[in-house]
Symmetry: C2
Subunit: 272 residues, 2 copies
């Protein structure tokens, strides 16, 4: 632990694009095949680099950057080596060109237009989230199914009805959408988005979307994150108890143990 889990690592198959037609053609020099795990870390490196740049550095060692990004330095070096090299031995990496390269790879050299569907509780917050704007994205459209919300201004953008999706997605050339609808509506909305031309979706609804192969979907489920933490909590306390037991076994102090007796009991209850 404390090795931060960043909420997307690798695990899932292959190099990005390793199977695409371009493999046949040989990969483009300016577009190397990056391991998916590396791609997932690049944004973190980018953030760390921006921070370093703002605090007056113009060079970092792999050690320093790794620390700031929460990974180990060998991994960092290997990741960066995949982008073609931007470091100088004995010195480190020049921050500015490195930032440029990562931004280019991530496609952040042009600010991308994003649509957000579902301005309920969470959607509303996302619409106002400054982090999107400051890190390469522009919320270009808001949609909701609820007619009473249509017209509402959030952060200067008017909420439109989901019926307008085809029109707006085309006119604004939107390819990325954020889905913050209730679970029940998510699939239908996703279908509409895809039909309108969206090819990447960030899904906050707790459902597995069923979409064509070529559409990229990332899922963020807030409750899932907590449940994973809960598991570790459970384990910690179980281990703790066990440890205590082990100690007690060796010794006399049975009393302390009695208090946190094994939670083997109750199950069920819980989720509504």
């Amino acid at each position: 632990m404390s090795q931060q889990r960043t909420g997307h690592e690798a695990g899932i198959t292959g190099r990005v694009g390793a199977v695409t037609p371009s493999a046949v053609l040989g990969s483009q020099p300016d577009f190397p095949d990056l391991p998916e795990a590396t791609v997932a870390r690049l944004p973190e490196y980018l953030r760390a680099l921006h921070h370093l740049a703002e605090t007056g550095h113009d060079t970092v060692s792999s050690e320093g950057l790794a620390l700031a990004a929460g990974v180990n330095s060998a991994k960092l070096r290997k990741d960066l080596s995949h982008l073609g090299s931007y470091g100088t031995r004995g010195v480190g990496y020049d921050i500015e060109p490195l930032v440029g390269q990562i931004e280019y790879i991530l496609g952040l050299n042009k600010r991308r237009a994003v649509a957000l569907v579902g301005v309920g509780n969470l959607g509303h917050a996302l619409a106002g989230y400054a982090g999107f704007a400051s890190r390469g994205f522009r919320i270009a459209a808001l949609f909701d199914a609820d007619l009473t919300r249509v017209g509402e201004l959030i952060n200067g953008i008017a909420v439109r009805h989901i019926g307008d999706i085809p029109e707006v997605v085309k006119s604004e050339a939107i390819s990325i959408a954020v889905l913050a609808t209730p679970a029940g509506a998510a699939q239908a909305v996703a279908d509409q988005l895809v039909a309108a031309g969206v090819t990447s979706i960030l899904n906050f609804a707790p459902v597995v979307l069923n979409l064509p192969e070529q559409v990229d979907v990332r899922k963020v489920d807030l409750a899932v994150e907590l449940q994973i933490l809960s598991f570790h909590e459970h384990r910690k306390s179980a281990r703790g108890a066990e440890q205590a037991k082990a100690l007690a076994r060796g010794a006399e102090l049975a009393k302390t143990v009695a208090r946190n007796g094994s939670p083997v009991a109750a199950r069920g209850e819980v989720a509504a």
Copy 2:
């Protein structure tokens, strides 16, 4: 793609608990060492199972559950086999006991108290997020540094000042905290939480927290998710251009082909 990336896979080191003291003692029968990748998928299985139960099923095949959870069936079976077996050959899994077992493993048999720090834009939405309550968690306390927000009621809970963290965390026996502060404040707040006894943190602030070994941290960075999608968008368009070029190079019927991309190209399309 379309193989949904769930925003946390494995990649990060070892079996859960493989290094804990209990390894020495031999692992408990009721608390097997689960691969981290498996743990990350359990919540998704649980959600799918609840959904199935609600729609009247009381049995599922690995195929069916895998479909509902967005994974392949072999993976699912292996995952479930780690919890000790709950399936019947020729039939499938009994939903009810399986739900119970997963909830037990995840430590959801008791409803866990969670503290949320930072009731700004995002924090406010999280405080009102119904998904937490419905999936095993109880927001037991809200904190903010801003005195003008202290006292405000959100979802029936009063916002308290972060100075009260030690007291409240102890009295409510809180071990999990959600961090939704601005980046600048996150580290300091995290330190306070840990000092007060919190041992798991879900961090929404875009910073790498530096905390003791035994504290579990999961990070969710919304902009990072979009940046990863952006990468894939970028790649898709780059590939598209390339493909077009290649096709143009090769043939006369560039036009017809351009639309559907060659069958060879279609194969496997992209990672996952």
